[in-house]
């Protein structure tokens, strides 16, 4: 009977202490098994022969070329996807038109199609025996087994990220603020710049980070279309696989560490921005 007053003050949503411990335990267990252990293994294997060996692994000419290629592809694919993502989300959230549902499905397509299939489709379309093959050869344009092909595959795979982040946010915010800005005399471009963009910037940032992570990490589609020409069309993930298959595990894992580190940097960047703009974030979400 003594603990009845205590019970009265615990919030109704609070679960029993043991139940809470079980829930937390399960999450921590899976986090360790699925996230921390693999990540730690990558770094540990990379450093198993010391820092010097690891540094050599990522500074070989082939590895450097892979790093360069990956960063270049991401640097082009991500901005293009920002433009496409904003345009698609804007169209879907702010206008009513025929075929809207179809467009939404189309945006999701890269998520539902296996990347390997996507890569093959691009090879069939742009390869020498493909639909555009003869035209491309006649004009001396190389897409398959070359940089443009890798870029195309990456664009296809990262297509949905920005748009999918933006669509729900833009639908939820509706058109009222944009309409208000128009009645106050603002031009379309000004409305976009000073009303729409500030309202979606956080969703946009998440979308960009996800798209960037995927652009750097994509394997399947790029593997098919790149032809895996060493030092020319190998991106970081493909290079990692090649090194691993050649039993060069230190080199493979040091390159993998670098790729993982790039992902961790983007995550850290995101957390930093969230922390820095916490007040602003809360202000825009309430209201």
């Amino acid at each position: 009977m003594a603990d009845i007053p205590v019970q009265a003050f615990t919030p109704v949503t609070t679960e029993h202490r043991h139940f809470r411990a079980v829930l937390i335990g399960i999450s921590v267990f899976f986090m360790v098994i699925l996230l921390f252990a693999p990540l730690a293994t990558i770094f540990a294997t990379a450093l198993s022969d010391g820092w010097k060996a690891a540094a050599e692994g990522i500074s070989s000419p082939d590895a450097l070329s892979a790093i360069r290629l990956t960063l270049t592809v991401a640097a082009i694919a991500v901005p293009l996807n920002i433009i496409f993502g904003i345009a698609a989300a804007w169209a879907i959230a702010k206008f009513d038109f025929r075929g809207k549902a179809f467009l939404i499905t189309l945006i999701d397509l890269p998520f539902s199609v296996s990347p390997v299939v996507a890569g093959l489709a691009l090879v069939l379309l742009f390869g020498s025996h493909g639909a555009f093959g003869t035209w491309l050869i006649a004009h001396d344009l190389k897409i398959v087994f070359a940089f443009p092909g890798i870029l195309l595959a990456t664009l296809f795979i990262t297509f949905p990220f920005v748009a999918r982040e933006l669509i729900p946010v833009m639908i939820e915010q509706g058109r009222a603020e944009e309409e208000a800005a128009l009645t106050l005399g603002a031009s379309g471009w000004r409305v976009f710049r000073s009303v729409t963009l500030p309202n979606i910037r956080w969703a946009l940032l998440y979308g960009v980070l996800l798209a960037n992570a995927r652009a750097m990490g994509e394997f399947g589609a790029v593997a098919v279309i790149s032809g895996k020409i060493r030092g020319e069309t190998t991106t970081m993930p493909i290079m990692i696989e090649m090194l691993y298959n050649e039993y060069l595990s230190v080199a493979a894992f040091s390159l993998a560490s670098l790729l993982a580190a790039l992902a961790l940097v983007t995550l850290a960047l995101k957390s930093l921005l969230e922390w820095r703009f916490a007040g602003q974030l809360a202000a825009t979400r309430r209201h």
Binding site: A180, T183, L184, N199, A283, H287
Partner: protein, 239 residues
């Protein structure tokens, strides 16, 4: 500014939001568009503001055809139902938005913008909230900021969509008085949409009763009360 609405109709796909309606609004009037939801009153208001375009018919401002005029050119001070304040801007920046959006040669200087915003904040009796964000304001305060923002562009008319809809009864009464005062000091032709007959009768000089996309009756509040033109008007205004 006086407004003439000439056989205005609006269709959304196959549904008719507005049957051809005609209406003359004298300069400086305070007009209520009164009706239940789906009566077409908001559609009519949005057409006047340039946010929708009619399927047929004309709108005339001061006798000049304004049917195809862009929303920016109309300079209609529009107050939205849920205020639509820019959530990422302070109250000051919200009110200054319309001035900053002007073309360079018509744009007032920074000092002048500051003076005008502060004058508007005084007008809505909220002199000290310029630095706050909309999320930090009460419903009644937001409504008044929305009004100040609409007034900042020196509008030719004031259009308000259910301006008191989301507020409690006490605040509603106060703000009604506030709108009346602002209307009387600015002399702006003012049109507001409401489904609350008491609000329309108490505040407006002229009440336009609407139902199912048609105008049922136009008249002074007292006339509509004493001589309703149809059973619908009688039932709706008796509520």
């Amino acid at each position: 500014m006086y407004i003439d609405i000439d056989e205005l109709a609006k269709e959304f796909g196959t549904s008719r939001a507005l049957h051809p309606v005609s209406l003359s609004i004298p300069a400086g009037a305070l007009v209520a568009l009164l009706g239940p939801s789906g009566s077409g009153k908001t559609t009519l208001l949005r057409i006047l503001g340039g946010l929708e375009f009619p399927t047929s018919g004309r709108v005339l401002f001061d006798g000049k055809d304004a049917t195809g005029m862009s929303v920016q050119e109309r300079r209609a001070g529009f107050v939205f139902q849920h205020y639509a304040l820019f959530r990422h801007m302070t109250v000051f920046e919200n009110i200054a938005f319309g001035l900053r959006a002007r073309k360079r040669r018509e744009r007032p200087g920074e000092a002048e913008i500051g003076r005008r915003v502060n004058r508007l904040l005084d007008l809505i009796r909220l002199p000290n909230i310029g630095g706050r964000y909309p999320s930090q304001l009460s419903g009644g305060q937001r409504q008044r900021v929305a009004l100040a923002r609409a007034l900042a562009i020196e509008p030719r008319m004031l259009l308000l969509d259910e301006p008191f809809g989301a507020l409690d009864a006490k605040v509603r009464k106060e703000l009604r008085q506030g709108l009346r005062e602002i209307h009387d000091t600015t002399g702006l032709t003012t049109i507001f949409v409401t489904h609350d007959q008491e609000e329309a009768m108490e505040l407006a000089d002229l009440v336009v009763v609407m139902s199912m996309g048609r105008i049922e009756q136009i008249g002074k509040p007292a006339d509509i009360r004493s001589r309703p033109s149809s059973d619908f008007v009688r039932a709706f205004t008796a509520a």
